[in-house]
């Protein structure tokens, strides 16, 4: 029996590459922000740590996790796009990605900026995997929200 081609949309090479060799592995020792995300549906887990410079821009990123290829690859791709961003910019990124997973299209500028993240659009054909793809991103949002609370 032949495997259908939709699978290749889901499991694009770049996704499997991030899954096998996740970027920014290892947690920061003294992070400014820390978030933990868990998807009880399939047991996917992501821990994200961020450091900020004096201007409040992200200058260090560390992540660890375990779970399916989509959850881990998506979180790994996210970590590639955080360096130098303010928390507001990082939140914009999360908002954009969530929107795309919920059916919106990337603008050409967003697609240009996010590069390989666009490969995750294939996940939309497999609705139950959207939660997997979002895990790292919602973990980032939770970490930012928690950080803001501590800053009053």
């Amino acid at each position: 029996m032949q495997l259908p081609s939709e699978l290749d949309d889901l499991y694009q090479d770049i996704i499997l590459d991030h899954y096998r060799s996740p970027r920014h592995q290892g947690l920061l020792d003294a992070p400014d922000l820390r978030g933990e995300g868990f998807n009880p549906f399939c047991g996917d887990q992501v821990v994200l740590t961020l450091g900020l410079d004096e201007a409040g821009r992200i200058d260090a990123v560390g992540f660890e996790g375990q779970g399916c290829s989509i959850s881990q690859a998506s979180a790994s791709m996210l970590t590639d796009h955080l360096q130098g961003k303010t928390l507001e910019e990082a939140e914009d990124l999360v908002r954009t990605f969530k929107g795309v997973m919920q059916g919106e299209e990337f603008t050409p500028e967003q697609e240009e900026e996010l590069g390989e993240v666009a490969a995750l659009q294939g996940v939309k054909q497999f609705p139950i995997r959207i939660k997997c793809a979002l895990l790292g991103w919602t973990t980032l949002q939770d970490a930012i929200t928690a950080y803001r609370k501590t800053q009053g």
Binding site: C42, R129, C132
Partner: protein, 415 residues
């Protein structure tokens, strides 16, 4: 034995195609498919005699009440309960266990007492007891899993102290398929004066079960895993125990006499069935039991043992795959949990789905077992029922070979 090809014709859903290929349904530990007779019983009730039960003297009400109570009697005979009064209809296994926890458990487990469960429990037979232990100041102890995936009962005598009020154990693990020695454990528990609850969600659908032979005090199981509809489950309670128990939910139907100040309770089992019960699904569960009884539970068990033996032989061909569960089929049901270190179970399930094969991927509502004992983040699980075939096992194994090739190729493309 029965003719599986003939049996399959009774299940309309098995003719279904998924992604253009025939469905191979191997997620029976999650829920079973339904034969036409069960679907028919449900629509018959709604088309011909839908009425509320235990009230009203009109024809429909009498027919509905008779059918509902006949379903209760069928359940009682099926597990050899002394009588229908031992059978309480609930939503599912989880609700059955919570009923015991919130009534008998909260009232009888005292500070310093002990509740014993096993490391193999489904969350539904663990989390309610964590709650009772926490609220009442009792301790929760575990019967450990042995290396061969059976229960390690070697230190049972130390675990079962006179302070032990309850032993709550699964009869068949939904992750490992392990069939546990519930009769022996029950006897040991009774020697120290503890009561015993058996989570039979995976056992009653798949093998002959006799509550009087097991001598347990409570037994819980779900209709939907045994060819019946969702939303109907069973709690068996030994009579001496149920008479002493307070009601769970209070309201209509469960009362005998009500004044503005007070109320007295209806007799068992209606004492535990407040409000309009799930009449249609109970009646359809009765039809499921008729179907299982006609096949013979010994035959169902024999079929599944043969199929599991075949599946284990085929799984052994896959070097990259680790399976979990007892190798001795006399203590194993039709469940094969497996794991590949390089490919997450969720991804396995995704590829298999494209080939029409339905399996479960995840922690199977047994997180501590999967993570802390099997030491993996999740497993994939194939689980069989009376209508599955060796040909379907072959489709699964072919599918797993494709999974290995697919993710292997994807990895080597970059190398």
């Amino acid at each position: 034995m029965y003719d599986v090809a003939e049996i399959r014709k009774d299940f309309p859903i098995l003719e279904r195609q998924v992604h253009g290929v025939p469905l191979v349904y191997l997620d029976n530990a999650a829920t079973s498919q339904k034969p036409r007779a069960v679907i028919q019983a449900l629509s018959d009730y709604y088309e011909r005699y839908n009425a509320n039960v235990h009230r009203g003297a009109h024809t429909l009400a009498i027919e509905a009440t008779d059918a509902y109570e006949e379903a209760r009697a069928k359940v009682a005979r099926f597990i050899n309960a002394p009588g229908p009064e031992n059978i309480v209809f609930v939503r599912n296994t989880t609700e059955a266990i919570n009923l015991v926890a919130y009534t008998w458990g909260v009232a009888n487990v005292k500070a310093g007492d002990r509740i014993v469960v096993t490391e193999m429990e489904h969350h539904s037979n663990l989390v309610p007891w964590q709650h009772v232990a926490r609220v009442n100041g009792a301790e929760l102890k575990l019967i450990a899993m042995a290396k061969d995936y059976t229960l390690d009962t070697s230190d049972l005598d130390e675990l079962l102290t006179p302070a032990t009020r309850l032993v709550a154990i699964t009869q068949m693990s939904n992750v490992l398929g392990t069939i546990t020695p519930v009769a022996d454990i029950t006897a040991a528990a009774h020697r120290v004066g503890a009561l015993v609850l058996i989570d039979a969600a995976q056992s009653v659908p798949h093998m002959p079960v006799d509550v009087q032979a097991l001598d347990c005090d409570f037994m819980a199981f779900s209709g939907h895993k045994m060819l019946g509809p969702t939303g109907i489950g069973v709690l068996y309670i030994r009579s001496e125990v149920s008479e002493q128990m307070d009601p769970f939910l209070r309201g209509g139907e469960m009362v005998l006499e009500v004044t503005y100040e007070d109320a007295s309770w209806n007799e068992v089992p209606l004492k535990f069935e407040a409000g309009t019960p799930n009449i249609g699904d109970a009646i359809a569960l009765g039809a499921a039991i008729d179907y299982l009884t006609a096949l013979g539970m010994d035959n169902v068990r024999e079929h599944e043992v043969a199929l599991t033996r075949y599946a284990m032989e085929r799984f052994a061909e896959l070097e990259e795959v680790t399976t979990f569960g007892p190798s001795d089929l006399s203590v194993r049901g039709g469940v094969v949990s497996f794991y590949m270190s390089e490919i997450h179970p969720h991804d396995i399930g995704q590829v298999l789905d494209q080939l029409g094969v339905a399996i479960r991927a995840g922690h199977h509502c047994a997180m501590p077992l999967v993570r802390s004992r099997l030491m993996v983040p999740a497993t994939a699980r194939a689980s069989f029922y009376l209508y599955n075939t060796e040909a379907e096992v072959d489709v699964l194994i072919d599918g797993l070979n494709q999974v290995l090739r697919y993710f292997g190729d994807a990895a080597s493309k970059r190398a």
